[in-house]
């Protein structure tokens, strides 16, 4: 069990699906791969990322790979359907890191075979683009069918919903703090409207009731806070949307457990 070295290598910023920090690929090759992976994500929601680094700088391949994959959050959060293909040019090492959700299809054995059979032979001949491309193609073939277009459609962006609800609730409570009747009425109207848009006509009544409650009670609470501070209404800073997205990459926040396979050329 190795302790993490104090000279641990940092996780780089991703640049799209293909991050080539060692200039292994030509610009058009990188663009082609990027296009392929982007459209694959759109049709299946599976996220495949490729990272090419110059050197591991002494870090263990597997430790670095899972660190990057986890921090980037490759794959959708609820599905953990991400794959990271990591190549270290000077160390001549390859690794396929598989997210929890895909471990059942892209098993260690299959990852191993892809590394050994598809990527390594090409790399040995110096055909880096061909190696990566055939590796990615095979990965796609293996995991295809796991998620279909229907699953992708069903995804209501739940993050936006929460933010909207939170903001509205706060505004309603503010109104209610000034005048509870106004709070109740505006709450009811806004609540009904929002619930109608987000969840459908069947939820209007629920929205009205909840909105009114938030208006009256929320207003009451805000009032108490305001009065105990002796004046001025407080902008309740306790309203955090409670949403943490994975750093600043465009990946969905998927998780990894260490599955996959390594190789070298």
């Amino acid at each position: 069990m190795l302790a993490t070295s104090i000279f641990a290598k940092d996780v780089p910023e991703p640049s799209g699906h293909v991050t080539d920090l060692a200039k292994m690929l030509k610009t058009n090759q990188e663009a082609e791969l990027e296009e392929l992976l982007l459209s694959y994500k759109k049709t299946t929601s599976n996220e495949i990322a490729v990272l090419i680094i110059d050197s591991l700088e002494g870090e263990v391949l597997e430790q670095y790979s899972v660190k990057v994959a986890q921090q980037w959050g490759v794959g959708k959060k609820e599905k953990d359907n991400g794959v990271l293909l990591l190549i270290s040019k000077r160390d001549r090492k390859i690794r396929i890191e598989v997210g929890y959700g895909l471990e059942g299809t892209l098993t260690d054995v299959l990852s191993g075979r892809i590394v050994d059979g598809e990527i390594t032979p090409e790399f040995k001949d110096g055909n880096f683009y061909e190696g990566i491309k055939s590796g990615v193609d095979m990965i796609i073939k293996v995991i295809d069918g796991e998620y279909t277009e229907e699953n992708v459609q069903e995804e209501i962006s739940s993050d936006v919903n929460l933010l909207v609800l939170g903001a509205c609730a706060f505004v309603i409570a503010l109104i209610g703090a000034f005048q509870w009747i106004a709070g109740g009425i505006s709450g009811g109207i806004i609540g009904g409207f929002i619930f109608w848009i987000l969840f459908g006509p069947g939820f209007i009544i629920l929205g009205v009731i909840l909105g009114a409650i938030v208006g009256v009670i929320g207003g009451f609470i805000l009032r108490i806070i305001a009065e105990s501070e002796g004046g001025g209404s407080s902008s309740s800073g306790s309203y955090s949307s409670g949403y943490s997205s994975s750093s600043n990459s465009s990946f969905g926040g998927g998780s990894f457990g260490g599955g996959g396979a390594s190789g070298s050329w």
Binding site: M1, Q63, V66, V109, S111, D116, S228, G258, G259
Partner: protein, 197 residues
């Protein structure tokens, strides 16, 4: 009179909310640690499950390596025994953790000795079955590492929340206690070297 009442109520409310917050935090940390402990056990089990196929495959090519194979099988048995002895309690004290880690590390070294021995048999090394098993073993070992690291991280967070001044007071209520983390036994980072004449 009214103002005083409001202030007292608010203060009590704040205290209650703070205590509730600490309590909930400890419970959360405890549950996280339970979950990541589950992952540790699952990954260890995964490795144990691979052993029989590995032994069978190697036997087919390297029947002479009886001792090495025997060592692996015995180490696996030992792991199962210790597991039964310790049970699946989420909270292991230092002694129990020592036993478990000891048995698993013995398993690790028996395995690496076996894999070194395999180097002598090119036919075995080229066998697709064996190659697959090797990938599975590597994957499992990696999962074990990841699971242990995550468990340690969860234990660190848990211990922090239970050992602080306020944490101590609340942990009596929440029943959440300090946990043991994984510490590498001395020398386990160095793989056993075997030389051939």
């Amino acid at each position: 009179m009214n103002k005083a009442l409001i202030i007292i109520t608010t203060l009590l409310g704040i205290i209650l909310i703070t205590v509730a917050g600490i309590y909930n935090n400890q419970i959360n940390n405890d549950e996280n640690a339970n979950k990541s402990w589950g992952d540790v056990e699952a990954t260890y089990q995964r490795r144990a499950d691979l052993i029989p196929s590995l032994v069978e495959t190697v036997k087919g090519y390297a029947a002479h390596e009886k001792e090495t194979l025997q060592a692996v099988t015995e180490a696996r048995q030992q792991v199962t025994n210790i597991q039964a002895e310790i049970g699946t309690a989420g909270e292991l004290d230092a002694a129990a953790m020592q036993k478990l880690v000891g048995a698993q590390e013995q398993m690790s070294s028996a395995l690496s000795r076996l894999l070194v021995t395999v180097e002598k048999y090119p036919d075995l090394k080229a066998n697709q079955n064996f190659l697959d098993l090797q990938h599975q073993l590597e994957g499992t070992e990696n999962r074990i590492n990841v699971a242990r690291q995550r468990y340690n991280a969860d234990v660190a967070a848990l211990n922090k929340s239970v050992r602080g001044i306020l944490g101590r007071m609340v942990s009596g209520m929440s029943g959440v206690n300090v946990r043991q983390s994984f510490e590498a036994t001395a020398g386990s980072e160095i793989a056993p070297k075997v030389s051939f004449q």
